[in-house]
């Protein structure tokens, strides 16, 4: 497949990861040409991070790997991780998930980058004594040049806690990249990022590729896979289901799982039938000239809006524009600086409900779900059967209720949270990034249920999401926030 003289940057043969006798990842084989890109696409739980760890050689002690790994043609047994550890930084690099956690919080950014130049890339330990100081200042200079090249000169003397997530990602990239490893493994670089940030990440990776680096990119983000191009492999439950050129594979997926995965991408969701603005429906809540700021920073000002029964309104705006605060003001959880919120007078307080980004945080963690829900049913004198019916519609098995919130998966818990909210016969549901922590397939399911059930009980939905595609697919209209003012589309 490749030119004979050009070695593969990475070749993996029959790689498996085991927990005891249980195979977590099985029989993976692939190769990345020098300067090439391979994207591993899969949901969380598909074993893609384990795969990355197995290749790096830093699997947790309870796991073991089998198979063969060829790094720039050099063979090593997959089980023998320590051999590849010697090449960390110099021959194989890893850009970790959530790079802001990967930077040492107590060290300035510049020193963390310089450290790689000093200790990893200058491989002359014998000369250290005579030129330790010199090496250090050279490394510092290289680090500053590198930071400047990515527009980070202002952040050089800052600590990780003082810089944004995007900057942290670039810093981590530089620290990883400094020793010039020809192969970089990138783990979920776009997790939780909004559109602009995703663009930055893509640019970074494309620049690295342009320098001749080989990339192994692990992601669940179909958009990124498409943008990076190169080779694509789809992973399901620890097994490769499909592999090929990205463009071709994305255009014509053969495997059913790949098809479902691609269909779950909000960009591919079916557009809803066009609905008229329900001006004739009753006004649930009216916001008049709302403004809010935190300290010096103004979030939004002069926002006025009416929300009618049964409509889905998406709140949009750049991050930091106060989307969550706006929703909380509408619910009455937060007081606006100026302006007022008028709720329909005949509605009880419990008619205004909220769905949270992290469903696990919205339940009392120490008591089983059943107890929480029973408490609610008892408090309002409701029928348990009504709840059971709701749960059935949410496709929740009753046995799940005997678990604690953290013992239930995010998608399931979000659906239970939805059932809990619907039980209150709400007039308005404020859904604050309800699916941003969920995998694409689950996300699609939860959003669909939310909209469908809300419409069924006639509840309005105030949806905050960073994903423009979701907005496009489900929202009846958009409410854009900005510090200057608002615009309704």
């Amino acid at each position: 497949m490749n030119a004979p003289l050009q070695l593969n940057a990475l070749r993996v043969e029959d790689l498996s990861v085991w927990h005891g006798q249980q195979q977590l990842v099985g029989g993976i084989s692939f190769a990345i040409a020098a300067g090439g890109v391979l994207t591993l696409l899969g949901e969380s739980g598909s074993g893609k991070s384990l795969l990355a760890q197995a290749i790096m050689g830093n699997l947790p002690a309870s796991l073991r790997a089998t198979g063969s790994i060829f790094l720039a043609g050099e063979h090593s047994d997959a089980a023998d991780g320590s051999r590849r550890q010697d090449g960390w930084g110099r021959r194989i690099a890893l850009l970790p998930q959530e790079p802001w956690l990967a930077l040492d919080p107590t060290m300035t950014v510049a020193r963390q980058v310089a450290e790689t130049y000093e200790l990893v890339s200058q491989s002359a330990p014998d000369q250290q004594n005579e030129s330790l100081r010199q090496a250090r200042s050279q490394a510092a200079a290289s680090a500053r040049r590198a930071l400047a090249s990515l527009g980070l000169e202002a952040a050089a003397d800052k600590y990780p806690c003082m810089i944004s997530g995007g900057m942290a990602q670039r810093v981590a990239f530089l620290a990883t990249h400094a020793a010039g490893a020809p192969l970089m493994i990138i783990d979920e670089p776009t997790k939780g990022l909004d559109v602009d940030r995703r663009g930055e990440v893509l640019a970074l990776l494309q620049a690295a590729q342009a320098e001749g680096m080989s990339l192994l990119c692990i992601t669940h983000d179909v958009w990124l896979a498409r943008a990076l191009g190169g080779q694509l492999a789809v992973l399901q439950d620890g097994a490769l289901v499909e592999q090929g050129g990205a463009e071709a594979l994305l255009a014509q997926p053969r495997h059913a799982y790949t098809r479902r995965l691609l269909a779950a991408d909000p960009a591919r969701w079916p557009l809803p039938e066009v609905r008229l603005p329900c001006a004739q429906a009753a006004v649930i809540v009216e916001a008049r000239e709302l403004s809010k700021s935190f300290g010096e920073q103004a979030l939004f000002a002069g926002v006025s809006a009416r929300i009618h029964a049964g409509e889905v309104v998406a709140v949009s705006g750049p991050s930091g524009s106060g989307k969550t605060s706006f929703g909380n003001i509408v619910l009455g959880l937060l007081q606006p600086d100026t302006g007022q919120v008028i709720r329909a007078p005949d509605l009880p307080r419990t008619a205004f409900q909220k769905i949270y980004q992290d469903p696990a945080a919205a339940f009392a963690p120490a008591i089983p779900l059943r107890r929480s829900l029973q408490d609610l049913v008892r408090l309002h004198g409701l029928q348990w059967q009504a709840l059971e019916a709701l749960l059935e519609r949410m496709r929740i098995a009753p046995a799940l209720l005997d678990r604690l919130p953290r013992q239930v998966s995010g998608g399931e818990l979000q659906r239970i949270a939805l059932a809990r909210v619907l039980l209150m016969k709400p007039a308005l549901i404020f859904a604050d990034e309800p699916t941003s922590r969920l995998d694409p397939l689950t996300q699609q399911e939860v959003i669909a249920l939310l909209v469908e059930q809300a419409r069924e009980v006639g509840s309005a939905v105030l949806l905050v999401t960073h994903d423009a595609d979701i907005v496009r697919c489900v929202a009846d209209r958009r409410l854009a926030l900005s510090p200057a003012g608002q615009s309704v589309q």
Binding site: N58, A61, G81, S82, Q85
Partner: protein, 534 residues
């Protein structure tokens, strides 16, 4: 991953050595940096054997101030300050700064011939005028000189003349007391406060760190052979710590050892034990003015419930120390061998209380007309055995139906309680050899108003009168007062204004590094000038 990779073995050793190195540095460098100036000349390597040539004395007493009335006894014990007269082990007066003394026939005019050519430690001459100044100062302050009714103090050449208004036989003994110590004029500031200790004894002060420590050195050209040249007193309040210091070879002389420590030191390779009976008695001071204790039957009942021998055996490890009368055998003139000893008899104690109208209540505590027989017993921790004895007494009094609350406080609570009249019972140790002639002490204790460490609210005129008669007898013809003494002892035994509990034996640990140690029965001196290094 392989954890051993974290430390190549060389690095591991290096890291482990780091704290050890730092501790060594701290032990030497740190101390060097902060050591007191006068010790900076010492080598720092030898931690335990430091101060080989310094005799270290430890005792419980703290230096509460420079004034002789406060801590003068410590400077006397370390032989820094001297008094006009001294006493020998038998209590006989000896010349010191005064070489001779005499009294007029009417007993009112005393003459003390001062020695010539004495010098203070600062090199100035010990002039009669400086002696007079010190005594005048002592007279103006609380102290024993007030016991004698002094009309005037004056000088006639080398002779000090003291004129009294009433005869006072024990006067020379007062001049042995530490409150009459002689200090050089340079010791005082303009207001007459003591700012330095400059005396005339064989040792002079090298440094003082109040309240815990002072160092002395021998005055040049005194002492021969391997005599002690430097000594140090350290106040160590806990008896265990003093014992540990002896056991670890850090202390050469240790005083006021508690009985368990004595046992611990008996076979010590480092130290010998010396002991001597002191004229000190542990007494139960009673407020005879208190409604419960005013009745002599109650006082006798309390005395009868005390197991003196048991307490002496269990707590002092010496059954002979049970105090069958107030004065121990070492006070030969005052100890009456013929006197019926105080003893233990619980049935008799109970019947005495019955007679006094105190009848057993349902809770075991006696009552009279609705009043419970409850008493407070104050004591203090300066002497380690006192709280223990108090505890034993508490239980013994409970056996005859008296509820006692033990209050362990400070020694000053007792004089304060005496003066405020709040005190009910107190357990204290009284040294009748405070002045070598007990008459002066007894005058303080059993005078017309009683005394801080003696009778309280005791309605008795006979004892004060007898004591006054004794006081009029000149010090060198003490043999004359036998009849009075016998009567006083008998009265105290019968009336029990204070109840004797146990006598006292001073035990001192002496390092095997020195020889020639002896105990002063009057606790006036540690006699370090006569010690020799072995």
């Amino acid at each position: 991953m392989a954890l051993d990779r974290y430390f190549p073995s060389r690095k591991r050793r290096g890291l482990l050595a780091l704290p050890a190195l730092a501790v060594t540095l701290a032990a030497t460098g740190w101390h060097k940096a902060l050591a007191h100036g006068d010790e900076s000349g010492h080598a720092h390597g030898s931690i335990a054997q430091a101060d080989k040539d310094i005799l270290t004395v430890v005792g419980p007493w703290e230096l509460t101030g420079l004034d002789p009335t406060r801590s003068g006894y410590m400077f006397a014990r370390m032989e820094v300050l001297e008094t006009l007269l001294e006493v020998d082990d038998a209590g006989q007066l000896q010349p010191s700064l005064a070489s001779a003394w005499s009294v007029s026939a009417d007993g009112l005019q005393w003459r003390f011939v001062l020695r010539n050519a004495q010098r203070y430690h600062d090199g100035t001459a010990l002039t009669p005028a400086s002696v007079l100044a010190c005594l005048q100062r002592a007279q103006a302050r609380p102290g024993v000189l007030r016991l004698a009714d002094i009309a005037s103090l004056r000088l006639e050449g080398q002779t000090l003349v003291i004129v009294l208004r009433r005869p006072f036989g024990p006067l020379p003994y007062l001049l042995t007391h530490y409150t009459t110590q002689i200090l050089a004029p340079a010791s005082f500031d303009a207001q007459g406060n003591v700012v330095a200790i400059i005396g005339s004894g064989p040792f002079r002060i090298r440094s003082i760190a109040l309240p815990q420590q002072f160092d002395v050195e021998r005055v040049p050209d005194s002492g021969a052979g391997r005599a002690i040249q430097r000594a140090r007193y350290i106040s160590v309040s806990r008896a265990e710590t003093r014992t540990l210091l002896v056991q670890s070879g850090q202390a050469d002389l240790a005083f006021s050892l508690d009985p368990p420590s004595i046992r611990a030191l008996q076979n010590s390779p480092r130290a010998n034990l010396l002991s001597a009976m002191l004229p000190r008695t542990t007494i139960l001071k009673l407020n005879a003015g208190h409604p419960i204790l005013a009745d002599v039957r109650v006082r006798r009942a309390i005395s009868l419930c005390i197991e003196r021998e048991g307490i002496a055996r269990a707590l002092l490890r010496d059954p002979d120390l049970g105090a069958t009368q107030l004065f121990p055998p070492s006070l030969a003139r005052w100890h009456e061998a013929a006197l019926a000893p105080l003893h233990t008899d619980l049935p008799q104690a109970r019947s005495l209380l019955d007679q006094a109208g105190w009848l057993p209540g349902s809770d075991g505590v006696r009552r009279r007309q609705g009043q419970r027989m409850e008493l407070n017993l104050s004591t203090f921790v300066d002497r380690p055995e006192l709280p223990l004895i108090a505890t034993a007494l508490q239980e013994e009094m409970r056996q005859i139906g008296i509820a006692v609350r033990v209050i362990i406080g400070n020694s000053s609570d007792i004089p304060a309680g005496h003066r405020s009249g709040q005190l009910q019972m107190a357990l204290a140790a009284r040294n009748y050899g405070n002045l070598p002639d007990p008459v002066a002490s007894l005058l303080q204790d059993f005078g017309p108003q009683g005394g801080d460490w003696g009778a309280m609210g005791w309605d008795n005129q006979e004892v004060p009168a007898l004591l006054a008669q004794l006081a009029a007898i000149p010090a060198d013809s003490m043999a004359r007062g036998n009849a009075e003494r016998t009567r006083i002892v008998a009265l105290l035994q019968a009336q029990l204004p204070v109840i004797p509990v146990v006598w006292y034996r001073q035990t001192c640990a002496v390092s095997r590094r020195v020889r020639g140690a002896s105990i002063d029965p009057f606790e006036r001196s540690y006699r370090i000038s006569s010690l020799q290094w072995t």
